[in-house]
Point group: C2
Chain length 346, copies 2
Amino acid sequence: MVTSEQVARRAGVSQATVSRVINGSKYISAEVRERVLAAINELGYEPDMVARNLVQRRSRMIALNFFAAEDELTFAKFGRTSKYFYLDVLKYIEQEAVSAGYDLLMPFRPRDKSPEGYIRSLQTRRVAGSIMLVPSPQDPRIQALLRAELPTVFIGSMIQGSAATYVKSDNIDSARQITEHLLALGHKRMAFLAGPVTSLSGMERMLGCHQALAQAGIALDTDLVCQSGWEMEESYKAASQLLDKRHDFTAVIAASDVMAIGALRALNEHGLHVPEDISLASFDGIDFSEYTIPPLTTMWQDRESIGRGAVQCLISMVEGKGQEPPSPLLVPTRLVVRKSTRSILP
Amino acid sequence: MVTSEQVARRAGVSQATVSRVINGSKYISAEVRERVLAAINELGYEPDMVARNLVQRRSRMIALNFFAAEDELTFAKFGRTSKYFYLDVLKYIEQEAVSAGYDLLMPFRPRDKSPEGYIRSLQTRRVAGSIMLVPSPQDPRIQALLRAELPTVFIGSMIQGSAATYVKSDNIDSARQITEHLLALGHKRMAFLAGPVTSLSGMERMLGCHQALAQAGIALDTDLVCQSGWEMEESYKAASQLLDKRHDFTAVIAASDVMAIGALRALNEHGLHVPEDISLASFDGIDFSEYTIPPLTTMWQDRESIGRGAVQCLISMVEGKGQEPPSPLLVPTRLVVRKSTRSILP
DNA sequence: CTGAAAGCGCTTACAG
DNA sequence: CTGAAAGCGCTTACAG
């Protein structure tokens, strides 16, 4: 590999000057810059990132993590149907990171399993900052991260610190909108396939539904609220159990599209047609939601704003050192009406 | 951050000795090792990866790439329905990499856009090797990669080199199996939703079907072979067009589950029921294939063997330097019979 | 505006 | 078995 020393020799300047040209220092005469640039091109020089990171004490890598339970890896999570939504977010994270000149690093198993060990493993890799996808708030690594003041953006979690902020969808408003949509279609008795109680977005969505119903003067029948995990299979089971007992409701709101797909199967097996017998609505707007039979009415989440926003927040913390972290980003959602909900007004 | 010098001072030894203990050299007395280990624990020392990479001239990072068209990023691809299958592969890649002590690096935009620039960007990051997911064979970066002899494993592509090998499913056998399954159920007139002609796995699957039919003495009706892209929407359109013209067949084989989901929607819109009117089978075995209505009969691909195999091949090249690259891995698939195919025998 | 020198935190021959 | 020294390829004060 070509080194800066070789470039320097060829251009007849010092290594320091090559470095200045590469890093766009303005204290360089046009003539010298020209010569150095020519040498760089002729030799096909590319600065060694590792050496640069060592001396600059910081790399241009952003660590990406997606943990809840310990020891879980990042991609292991994406394989799950319940995390399918985050792929799109990741896509925009990547785009934004790359165009800002940052790489993405997927973690690694630290030799030391303690929260501090995790932080150190990030530090020894000199990551510029990290983006955490829907961490559970009680994860001990979060506190360690905040304490170490490693710049971090949390997605889907409301955690802040002196070098940390968060980005998430406005779930409460989102749930209000979908409930109002159903109310407008004449639905009064609704069942809920809610996410786990430990989940922030699950609870926010439930809350939003609650608020919209309350405003319409309708009380929520707690018997019609089923707690379920985020996986397709879990919601399938939860919906099946509910349907075994009763189906005296005209609509179901599922906490995610994936959960709705599970519910759809359960409804089908109980001989119930959507939307003729029961309306079904959900959240996220993943690709598959358009290809179910019938296509799902859903609250679309703005992955692009979430993903790009997270990277922008992070970079502003990394590069604008010493300042306050940017304020949290609350991203609006959008109602997409398809075939799974219908009016039951006379 | 704690440095090896501090550890050395505390343990009353030289930096070199600390390094030897960390790297498990055997020329160390038990007594000294003990003292150094104690100092490491007391100080919470973790060696600086960047400094280590600089002197060792190689990092423990594996670059992951998933490119076809230029300028496409890795996650941008995963967001597509057609790539959903690879998430599971990635999950095992990650597991295997992490347990071998390697990190995963997602690329980056090289400043120099030429194929050589791409390689240099890998080299300046000191990546140990790279894993390429289904690259299109004509991508110029592939040749550059082979020329540079950067250890590489190609997944889903048959590319070999002095430091490169590949891992893929046995698609031809897979297609033979699914066709024989349909033949055994009495189906003789089958339609095919084939992948793009430019796709290796698409063509292999078509070929396998061809072979199985030929063996049964059945000629393939070229009018019943529809070329389509891998996306759900593309196969939906292709299937719709076919169905507009005719439906004098009893079964459809789609080149992937995602394509089958698109076809299912088209069949549904044409008032055709699966499997009563038409049987439907496909490839991959993604999670969603179990939740369509009806659940799909599919050729399940062994993501674990593919993912872990790829990493093992790569690491054996990286660490066992100078030897021949490991021979390619052809991974068998498995028929999973569900509700979308049925017997039409009298 | 430019160069000589020090230094980032390790590992690795080279001696002993 | 252990240490002193050199060096990995850059960047960054410090002079000039």
